[in-house]
Amino acid sequence: MQQPVTPGNSEAFEPDRKLSRREFARRTALAATTAVVVPASLLSQEAAPNPAPAPGARPQTSPPLSPELQAEGELKYQWIIQNYGSRLTDAEKQDVHRLVMEGQKPLAAFRAFPLDNPDQPATVLKFTDAEISGEGNRK
C-alpha cells in the first residue's frame, strides 16, 4: 500500500534535517551504514579509538546513539579495520570511527520511516505515471 501523499504531512518519525549535511559528497561518507557480519573474534582485535573533536567542530546537538546503533557502528568500524586497517594511520582510524558513528545518527529516523510491503524500490530510477503523463503538454 502506498503511503499517504499529502505534502508536508507529519510522519511518525524524527525528521533528519538536523543531522543532514550540505555537501552531497560528504554525505556519501557520513551516511554509510553497515550490517556486515563480523566474527566475534574480531571485536577484540582493535579497540575503537577515542576520536578527538575536529578543530572548530560544532557542539553535537544530536541525541546519543542507541546501544544498538552504537554496537552496529562498532561492528562496521571493526570490519573496516579488519580489511583496511594496515593502510590507515592512527589519525585516519580515529577519523573513520567518527565518520562511521556520524553515519549511524540518522539511521533511527531512517529505519522508522513507515513502509508497507507493496512499496517498491526505485532501484533503477523510473518515473511515476503522474510524472510521465504531463509530459505532452510541457513542451
Binding site: S20, F24, A32, T123
Partner: protein, 466 residues
C-alpha cells in the same frame, strides 16, 4: 581584429547571432577565449587541460562552414569548456584525481559528440573536485589542480564539484561550460559564481563517457550566462543515449524549449533553509517581488518531511562504493588529495544492503509525494544556497554544515532545477535563486528563470579580474 572583454561576456545567444551574421569570427573568438584562459585559468585553478589545437581546428571548421552557408545552429562556433570527467578521445580525462592523472580514453563522451555535431568548440577540460566528491571531501583543495578560486573574490571557493566550470563561465574564459550534478554540483557552483546553471531531468542527457559516481543520480547539465543559454545548450545535448541504462526514451529525453502556453503556478518553499544568511534572505524576497511584478502568482508550499537526505546519501554511498571499488580496494584512494576522500570509500563500503533497498523504497514514496505537490504547482522556488561562497580554507564538514532538503529531494527524484543570480551580499559575493519543477518539466524552470532575468540584470554583472 581583437575581441574585447565585453564580447567575451556576451551570452551564447548574442555570440551566436554575431557569428551567424558573420560579424564575429569563430577563430578570433576562440583565440581570445584561449588567451584569456591561459592568463586567468592558472590564477583561478579553473582548468585541468586546455585543448588549443583541437579548439582552433574546430573553430576554423566552423568558420569555413558558416562562410559557405552551412550554419548548424546557435552553438556553431561557440567555445566552451567541459568538466574533466567527460572523455575526449586522445586527451587526458583525470576525473580531478591524482590516481587518474594519466588516464586517456579511446572514445569521446556522448555529450561532447553532441556538442561537436552542434559545431561548438572545445577549449579545454574544466577543473573539478576529485571524483566529483564521490568519496567525500572536507576542503576546497580536494582536487588534483588545487582549490578553484572564485572570480568574485579569489579568497573564496567556487563550490563543487563543477568548480572549474563555475569559475570559467563567471570569468568569461568560455561562453559556457558543461557540469554535472549528483547532489548540488551544478546548483551550488552556479550560485557561488553568479552564473546560470541548469540541472536537467535525470536521464535527459546521455552519460556514456562520463565518470560514474551514482548511476541513479548523476546528471549532466549546462552552466551559462543566462537561462536562455542553458536551454540552447540542453537542446543540443539532450536525447536518448542507447548505451546509458539510465537514459530516457528519445521522446522524453529530447528537450525542445518552448514558452509555456499559460501562466506558471509558482510556490515558494517554506523553511527551505534553516538559517539563511540575512543578505540572501533579503535578496530572495526582492527576487520574489520581481516575479510577482512580472505577473507570477506566488503561493507557498512545504516540502514533505522525511529521511530523504539520508536516503539520498545512502544511495550515493552505495553506488559510489561500487563505482570506485577498484580504487578503494587497491588502496589507490591514498593518493587522493583530501583527508576525507582518502577514507570515505572504506566507510561507504559498509552500507547495509537492507538500508540501501529501504532508501530506494523511500525514494519511490517520495516521488509520489512530490507528484501531489506538482499537481498544484509548476515551479517551486527557494534560495539556491543559504550562504554565499565560503573561504578557501573553510572546513566544509565542521564549518559549513546545514540541511539541504531541496537538493536531497530534487536529486533523489531526478527533478530539473535552474539556478540564476539574484543579487550580491554586502561583501560582494553572488547570491542565487533556484527553480525546481516536475520531472520532464525543464521548460518550466527555464521559463521562470528567463522571466526573472528579463526583469533583472544580475546575470550581466561581471567580476573585476586582471
Amino acid at each position: 581584429m581583437a575581441v574585447s572583454e565585453e564580447v567575451l561576456y556576451l551570452t551564447v545567444r548574442e555570440l551566436g547571432d554575431q557569428i551567424r551574421t558573420r560579424q564575429l569570427s569563430p577563430v578570433e573568438l576562440t583565440q581570445a577565449y584561449l588567451d584569456r584562459s591561459k592568463k586567468l585559468g592558472p590564477q583561478l585553478n579553473a582548468y585541468a587541460t586546455l585543448t588549443p589545437d583541437l579548439a582552433l581546428q574546430q573553430a576554423r571548421q566552423a568558420e569555413d562552414e558558416i562562410s559557405k552557408g552551412h550554419y548548424r545552429g546557435p552553438l556553431h562556433g561557440i567555445p566552451y569548456a567541459a568538466k574533466d570527467l567527460l572523455a575526449v578521445k586522445g586527451y587526458p580525462t583525470t576525473w580531478g584525481a591524482k590516481p587518474y592523472q594519466n588516464q586517456r580514453f579511446d572514445y569521446t563522451a556522448t555529450v561532447i559528440n553532441k556538442l561537436n555535431e552542434a559545431g561548438a568548440v572545445l577549449l579545454g577540460k574544466a577543473a573539478m573536485i576529485e571524483l566529483a566528491g564521490g568519496l567525500g571531501y572536507r576542503f576546497a583543495a580536494a582536487s588534483a589542480t588545487g582549490a578553484a578560486k572564485n572570480p568574485w573574490n579569489t579568497n573564496c571557493w567556487t563550490c563543487g564539484s563543477s568548480s572549474g566550470s563555475g569559475a570559467i563561465v563567471a570569468s568569461a574564459m568560455a561562453a559556457f561550460a558543461i557540469g554535472t550534478e549528483t547532489w548540488g554540483s551544478i546548483v551550488c557552483p552556479a550560485a557561488f559564481c553568479g552564473v546560470s546553471g541548469l540541472r536537467p531531468t535525470f536521464g535527459r542527457v546521455g552519460r556514456v563517457g562520463a565518470m560514474a559516481l551514482s548511476y541513479s543520480m548523476d546528471k549532466i547539465g549546462p552552466m551559462c550566462r543566462s537561462a536562455e543559454d542553458c536551454a540552447l545548450v540542453l537542446t543540443a545535448v539532450s536525447g536518448h543515449d542507447p548505451s546509458d541504462a539510465g537514459s530516457l526514451p528519445e521522446l522524453q529525453a529530447r528537450f525542445t524549449y518552448g514558452a509555456p502556453a499559460k501562466a506558471l503556478r509558482v510556490a515558494r518553499i517554506e523553511k527551505a533553509w534553516e538559517n539563511p544568511d540575512p543578505d540572501i534572505a533579503a535578496a530572495f524576497e526582492q527576487a520574489l517581488g520581481v516575479l510577482q511584478k512580472s505577473g507570477a502568482a506566488i503561493s507557498s508550499v512545504q516540502l514533505p518531511e522525511g529521511p530523504y537526505e539520508t536516503a539520498g546519501g545512502i544511495v550515493i554511498s552505495v553506488e559510489a562504493a561500487s563505482a570506485y571499488s577498484t580504487l578503494i580496494e587497491s588502496g589507490g584512494v591514498a593518493q587522493l588529495s583530501d583527508p576525507l576522500s582518502r577514507v570515505g570509500g572504506y566507510v561507504a563500503q559498509t552500507t547495509n544492503s537492507q538500508d540501501f533497498i529501504r532508501a530506494q523504497r523511500i525514494r519511490r514514496v517520495l516521488q509520489h509525494k512530490m507528484d501531489v505537490i506538482f499537481q498544484q504547482f509548476d515551479v517551486l522556488v527557494a534560495p539556491s544556497q543559504p550562504n554565499a561562497a565560503s573561504t578557501l580554507d573553510t572546513n566544509l564538514e565542521t564549518d559549513l554544515s546545514f540541511a539541504d532538503p531541496i537538493g536531497g529531494i530534487g536529486n533523489l527524484c531526478g527533478l530539473p532545477a535552474q539556478s540564476v543570480p539574484c543579487g550580491f551580499t554586502k561583501g560582494g559575493l553572488p547570491i542565487g535563486i533556484q527553480f525546481l519543477a516536475q520531472v520532464l518539466n525543464d521548460s518550466a524552470v527555464v521559463a521562470t528563470a528567463e522571466t526573472f532575468q528579463a526583469h533583472t540584470d544580475w546575470h550581466h554583472k561581471h567580476p573585476a579580474l586582471h
